[in-house]
Amino acid sequence: MSALDNVIIPKKELPANVVRLGWILTLAGLALAVLSYMTDANRAAFNNVIGFTFLASIAVGAVFFIALEYIAGAVWTTPFRRVLEFLGMLLIPTLLMAIPLFFKLHDVYHWTHADAVATDKILQAKAPYLNEMSFMTRFVIFMVLWLAFYFIFRQNSLKQDGNKDQKLTKKNIALAAAFIPVLAISISLFSIDWLMSLEPHWFSTMFGVYYFTGTILTALAVTTYFVVSLSQKGYFFKGINENHYYSFGALMFGLLSFWAYIAFSQFMLIWYANLPEENFWYIERWQHGWEYVSIAITLIHFWIPYFMLVSRPSKMNPANLKRMAALLVFAHFLDLYWLVMPTYNNAPVFGYHELAFPVLCIGLIIVFFALQAKRFNLVPVGDPKLQRGIDFHL
């Protein structure tokens, strides 16, 4: 094991200026959000939905990748698994960010209006599912499940740092197997509740998969950003090689292609059948300026990163990886903006209201990461797969 001890850097705090930036962004975002709520509470609430689902994306996506590593027996992510474990902690601010929304449900979700439901047959039919009581119950159940799984994964992983017990890996594998079906159902219903029901008449069976794909892509992009920029500064271990970078790039490339596949399939089927009960959703997003946002999403979420990551050298280039990861995180924001805001206004709006939550989210990501990097090892030193992960070669 001494060979291993020579290469890894188990613990290193984030640079002070980064931490400071995190706090500044958090506080600035918080101030803007409060201001936004005070001046235009309705608009702020819609933006709050974007910020909340964005943060949930990263947190849940990170837990998904932890589970995936265990269940697939992947080794190349093992040295970097702590990044995912730290990001999963964002479940806490996600939970907090939902709280103001529960006071504003009435402004955001049309189906909460009893008078509207009384005159609307379709909403009446959905009432057993779409009502405030069951909405909140589901939210609590999902949060409890996600937090429980996350903390057990994390606990086992941290415990392994000390005792290097392989049984803990085995436990996490079993846990991961249980988590994946739970996640599949919970994230689908979560996306239906918080995003699809903004237009309570609209429905698409693909929607859960669409949000889930965006979720894991964003979590991966954030992870990639952290891994690449930290390893450039000498974190993790000595001798990080281009095979590690390549794997991150290839996975990102694969997932963004998959996202495009899902997005295009959903659009294509609704466009082709042209049923009025479905197509209005896309029509709303193709007029009054939303068409430019739609086109921008295809460019930012697919075409640009696709061609920037398609070649082999480009997947190994750290600067390129960082740029593309940042672009994809922004793309997910834009995607959520595109999903949520047409309900608020039939033309795209942009002002400090829209800036508040992105700034807050980015600040929170840095702050939560920094707080944990202070306390815990950045490399899972006790993981049996660590050596294989470091030696990883294509």
């Binding site: 697939a72 085995k170 079906p181 698409s204 069976t205 693909m206 998969v209 399939s265 089927l269 049996p384």
Partner: protein, 462 residues
């Protein structure tokens, strides 16, 4: 929880023991050089009979026309399209194993990739025969299917999902065949150098194109393999996606639902793996490949079946939920009718075989039992066939107007062609395992312990 804990710091070996490269060659080439066993002939007799039944049905079909089938209004798509989708689905496992698992660097795929790819080709052939013959007058089909300049001044309709199918299935077959052949080239060269008779030697020399194991060639070859895998992966997704578009772009309740593309792809992988599992277990036993196709491989196949089976189950439930959530009365009717209508037995066969049966794979005991794996794989195949039956027949048999309701009853010719397609498939599989190396020799040699340099520092910027 069992007391044995795997050592996660070690890779699970792809091949049991440390066979030398020449031993590997011996094992793999043995079935080709030996006179076939008696069981092989018995198998060939059975599949040949099935093929004969299919041939007779086909001849009668050509003579009489598609009226001999059970199809009519409103169920105008019957066994023909059910079988087509079923076989195309089976055909997805091969490319998945050779391309996606290759990209994911799952080395355990090495032992099974070759014949999974062969099965892809055979399954796509089986599928293609149904689409060709369901056109009614296949001797003119070329004129409707391919865009070629003609004196009528007409072109095919590129907006039609059926035309997309023509492109997708042809591309898929071509690319899979190329992929398979490229993989076989080094093995043909090995067989050429091992051949004892001039005829064999000539055949293999031609097939190997003159391969001489040069590293200046390997370098391009490996990159080409990677590129092809990179293309085959989205291709395999696109093919079953386009098959799903055949249904989903329509406005038929039960067909028009946005989750169809990924749901069909998951189903295709699911059924394909089940079929590979069935053939795998028999081949492994018959040719004594136990140390090349390890129990670990079979267990992993079972795990993938569990995952894809659950994904398919997710789609079943999501469809049902959204049918209710949409508030669309016809949509909900179709789904309730599936579960409780005249074809309830098909629906519940599908549910039992596809969603419930694979859940047994949660148990490690079941996963590592050959018999259980084999039986459950058969269940999955049955279930996936019924899934296509449920999607196609139950969505059609209750038209929008109750006056246009009807039932679909298959005739003996429907069954004859179905049996024939199985006959064709298994006959080709039997011929394949006899005449070509069933395991990729060059690939498996590369993953045996000690096959690669012991450390990577040798100036390698690979």
């Amino acid at each position: 929880m069992s007391s044995t804990v795997l050592d996660y710091s070690k890779e699970i070996p792809v091949v049991e023991g440390v066979p030398s490269a020449s031993q590997l060659d011996e094992t793999i080439v043995k079935p080709i050089n030996d006179f076939p066993q008696r069981n092989w002939f018995i198998g060939l007799a059975i599949t040949g009979t099935m093929l004969g039944i299919g041939g007779l049905s086909l001849a009668w079909l050509l003579y009489k026309g598609v009226g001999i089938w059970g199809i009519n209004q409103p169920v105008a798509w019957g066994f023909d399209v059910v079988n087509f989708v079923f076989w195309v689905g089976i055909g997805h496992a091969g490319t998945l194993i050779s391309a996606i698992l290759f990209l994911l660097r799952q080395k355990w795929r090495t032992g099974i990739a070759r014949f999974a790819e062969a099965m892809t080709l055979f399954a796509v052939l089986c599928a293609v025969q149904f689409v060709i013959f369901h056109t009614g007058r296949p001797w003119l089909a070329m004129a409707w299917l391919f865009p070629y300049p003609n004196q009528h001044g007409v072109w095919v309709n590129f907006t039609s999902p059926l035309e997309w199918d023509v492109f997708a299935v042809n591309t898929y077959f071509t690319v899979s065949a190329v992929f398979w052949y490229i993989g076989l080239i080094p093995d043909f060269a090995s067989l050429r150098d091992r051949a004892t008779t001039t005829i064999k030697k000539t055949i293999f020399a031609v097939l190997s194109l003159g391969w001489r194991f040069s590293n200046r060639h390997w370098q391009h070859y490996e990159r080409a393999y990677l590129i092809m895998a990179g293309f085959a992966t989205p291709l395999v997704l696109s093919v079953h996606t386009i098959v799903s578009f055949d249904f989903a772009v329509s406005i038929i309740p039960g067909w028009h639902t946005t989750i169809f593309p990924p749901y069909f792809v998951a189903g295709a992988i699911f059924s394909g793996f089940a079929m590979v599992q069935n053939v795998l277990i028999i081949t492994r036993k018959a040719f004594k490949f136990e140390h090349l196709i390890t129990m670990d491989t079979i267990e992993k196949m079972n795990k993938i079946m569990l995952v894809t089976g659950t994904m398919v189950g997710y789609a079943y439930i999501m469809e049902f939920f959204i049918a209710w959530y949409s508030g669309n009365a016809t949509e909900l009717f179709v789904f309730i009718n599936r579960a409780t209508g005249p074809y309830w037995w098909a629906y519940w066969t599908m549910m039992t075989c596809n969603l419930i049966a694979p859940q047994l794979f949660w148990s490690k005991k079941v996963r590592t039992s050959l018999l259980a794996s084999f039986i459950l794989a058969i269940f999955v195949n049955i279930g996936m066939w019924f899934e296509r039956f449920v999607i196609i027949v139950t969505s059609l048999h209750r038209d929008f107007l109750p006056s246009s309701w009807g039932m679909f009853v298959p005739t003996m010719w429907d069954f004859g062609l179905l049996i024939g397609s199985f006959g064709l498939f298994f006959t080709l599989v039997l011929l394949f395992v006899k005449f070509l190396p069933a395991i990729a020799m060059a690939e498996i040699k590369a993953v045996v312990p000690g096959a690669q340099p012991s450390h990577h520092g040798n100036g390698a910027s690979h």
